[in-house]
């Protein structure tokens, strides 16, 4: 069995994110990191590999992004992936969800995995849709926001929370599964794994290598356009109390609630 894990490099959580008014894209300069949701997908892959129920030949990390995105792949490899594939091409810049999903699906087609895993959302774009877009391109069944995944020979038994409670779904492989962060506690990479990550095979692919039609990607190939970026409606900032003396803090909370007749 072969597992592909989709990963993404995103601005670090501590970086204040903003839109670049000129390109109308997210300003992704500054400190970057592996999308935290993706670490759960890698961990899920490792648990399948180590679980002993099915034989996993390899776990391949796949990303699309500029040159710097190799760092996300190194991180993925340090967490256990055997090798990685980096789809990178200037013509991909500015791709919307539709274009990105198409491009990633072409790369995955070449890899022909039995299972594609990804995090339920990226920390920057937060589109939640990549898994289901890719699945339809690959003509595979899919499920998103999965919090429990039991692998069997040829199929998966998955659980997720949907509109009316918890659903249990049985899915034949090959399949695309996006995982929620409740599925596992990702491991920390060992120092040895971090040091060794750059030595694992990393293949760089252009759009031509992946047989991607370039008129379907990048800003020109996108189906949505950012027409304007506006500030949100102004909201009066709330009062903030830093708790130094807890008795005093409690008094402040009590009088605040009392003024609003919340203690009646």
């Amino acid at each position: 069995m072969k597992i592909c894990v989709l990963v993404k490099e995103v601005p670090d959580a501590a970086v204040e994110k903003r839109m670049d008014p000129n390109t109308k894209r997210i300003d992704r300069s500054g400190e970057k990191n592996l999308n935290p949701f993706d670490t759960h997908a890698i961990e899920a892959a490792m648990q399948v590999k180590e679980g002993g129920i099915v034989d996993v030949d390899e776990v391949v990390a796949v990303t699309m992004g500029p040159e710097t995105a190799v760092r996300a792949l190194h991180k993925a490899v340090s967490l256990g992936a055997d090798r990685s594939v980096h789809l990178t091409d200037p013509s991909l810049a500015g791709s919307d969800c539709c274009a990105t999903g198409y491009a990633l699906a072409r790369v995955l087609e070449q890899e022909a995995p039995d299972l594609v895993l990804l995090g339920q959302q990226s920390d920057d774009g937060e589109c939640y849709t990549m898994g289901a877009i890719i699945a339809d391109h690959l003509r595979m069944p899919s499920l998103t926001q999965v919090i429990k995944m039991d692998v069997q020979e040829g199929s998966l038994r998955c659980e997720r929370q949907a509109e009316y409670g918890y659903d249990t779904v049985e899915i034949d492989l090959p399949a695309v599964i996006s995982v929620g962060d409740a599925i596992n506690e990702p491991r920390y990479p060992s120092l040895k794994a971090i040091m060794g990550a750059k030595k694992k095979p990393l293949e760089s692919k252009s759009t031509a290598d992946a047989a991607i039609e370039t008129d379907r990607v990048g800003e020109p190939g996108s189906q949505t356009a950012v027409l304007a970026i506006n500030p949100p409606p102004a909201k009066q900032a709330g009062e903030i109390i830093e708790d130094e003396d807890t008795d005093e803090t409690i008094q402040k909370i009590m009088s605040w609630m009392d003024e609003r007749k919340l203690l009646a």
Binding site: K17, R18, M19, I26, D96, C98, G101, A105, D124, E126, C127, Y128, T129, G131, A132, I133, A135, D136, R139, M140, P141, S142, T144, Q145, Q161, E163, Y164, G165, Y166, D167, T168, V169, E170, I171, D172, A182, R216, Q223, T224, A225, V226, L227, A228, N230, P231, P232, G238, E239, I240, I241, D243, T246, D247, T249, I250, Q251, I253, M254, L262, L263
Partner: protein, 326 residues
């Protein structure tokens, strides 16, 4: 003229509130564009003609009833893609919810259609729809336009208001036979809508004390329960702690949970992710206690307390009891 096709999710004979909001929104937009508003209902024998026709009360002129499994995304993608391709619908619209994301995403791939998600408002510009989408923790709102049609619009939870169009209005119902794609049948629902944890009622409470991961462990909820009892309210929870098994699903706020608007919402150890915010932002007074001063919840709370819950909650409970004379 074909216009807007809205997906109407249902369960146990009732339509989802967010779907009814989307049907209303679809009708409003279709009227502005001068086109037809239609809805899709997918399911088995449980979907009656009468039920489908009742969507007319929310402004749907036409309702397609398709015999296919409900509760999973791909079969609905098959149904809606066929309708859009054969009948020329210009937009597909979804209310907030997990399935809407999956179906909308599938249509995006199948039809090479632009998609905008977490949409809070839709407007008509030059005879086309433009979707407003808050991004980056709601720090900016993007106007997203569609280069081509069809366009896919996935609403944020509670973004679209239900507006009954006309009492007793009835939509024309057409039953469809749709060929499911091969991969649509490769996911099978084994069990749907399992309730985990005891049943609690949080929707009628005037005061809610909501707990998140910051409570540290399941036992941390005891502090929240004591405070809620002192305040005469109930306890609510975030998705993270419900998925972790710390608290009942029926107490969950936000996307795939409940939407509430109590007089007082006291959030204890909740970071304030958008999925949570959409279920409680209409609360009259929001108090947040969190040790992380950068937690997004402080952006939309009326009173924010940066500090340790273990120190604050027990003392607050004692103070509330004393103030209430107990």
């Amino acid at each position: 003229m074909s216009g807007i096709l809205t997906y109407a999710l249902h369960y146990q004979g009732a339509f989802n509130k967010n779907s009814l909001g989307a049907v209303s929104e679809g009708a409003r937009l279709a009227q502005q564009l001068g086109v037809e508003s239609a809805a899709v209902v997918v399911g088995g024998d449980d979907v009656t003609e009468e039920m489908c026709a009742s969507l007319g009360q929310y402004g749907a002129q036409k309702v397609f009833r398709a015999n296919a499994p409900e509760g999973l995304g791909a079969p609905v993608v098959d149904v809606m893609a066929t309708l859009i391709q054969e009948r020329g619908y210009r937009y597909a619209l979804f209310g907030g919810g997990l399935l809407g994301f999956e179906i909308g995403a599938g249509l995006t791939a199948r039809l090479r259609a632009g998609v905008t998600m977490e949409v809070t408002r839709v407007k008509v510009q030059d005879g086309k729809l433009v979707a407003e989408r808050p991004i980056l923790q709601d720090s900016a709102i993007v106007d997203s336009g569609y280069v081509n049609e069809p366009g896919i619009i996935i609403g944020r939870l509670n973004a679209f208001e239900i507006s009954p169009a006309a009492d007793g209005a009835s939509a024309e119902v057409e039953t469809l036979d749709v060929q499911l794609s091969e991969w649509s049948t490769k996911a099978r629902m084994v069990q749907r809508g399992e309730q985990r944890g005891e049943q609690v009622n949080i929707e009628d409470a005037d005061v809610l004390v909501a707990g998140g991961r910051g409570l540290g462990k399941a036992e941390g909820f005891e502090m929240a329960e004591e405070l809620a009892e002192a305040l005469g309210g109930a306890v609510a929870a975030t998705r993270a702690v419900v998925d972790a098994g710390w608290y009942s699903y029926s107490a969950q706020i936000g996307q795939t949970g409940k939407t509430v608007a109590p007089k007082l919402y006291l959030a204890a150890g909740i970071s304030g992710a958008i999925q949570h915010k959409v279920g409680m932002q209409a609360s009259e007074n929001i108090v947040a206690i969190n040790k992380d001063p950068n937690a997004p919840i402080f952006e939309f709370s009326d009173l924010g307390v940066v500090g340790d819950l273990n120190k604050i909650l027990p003392k607050l409970t004692a103070a509330v009891k004393a103030a209430k004379g107990g």
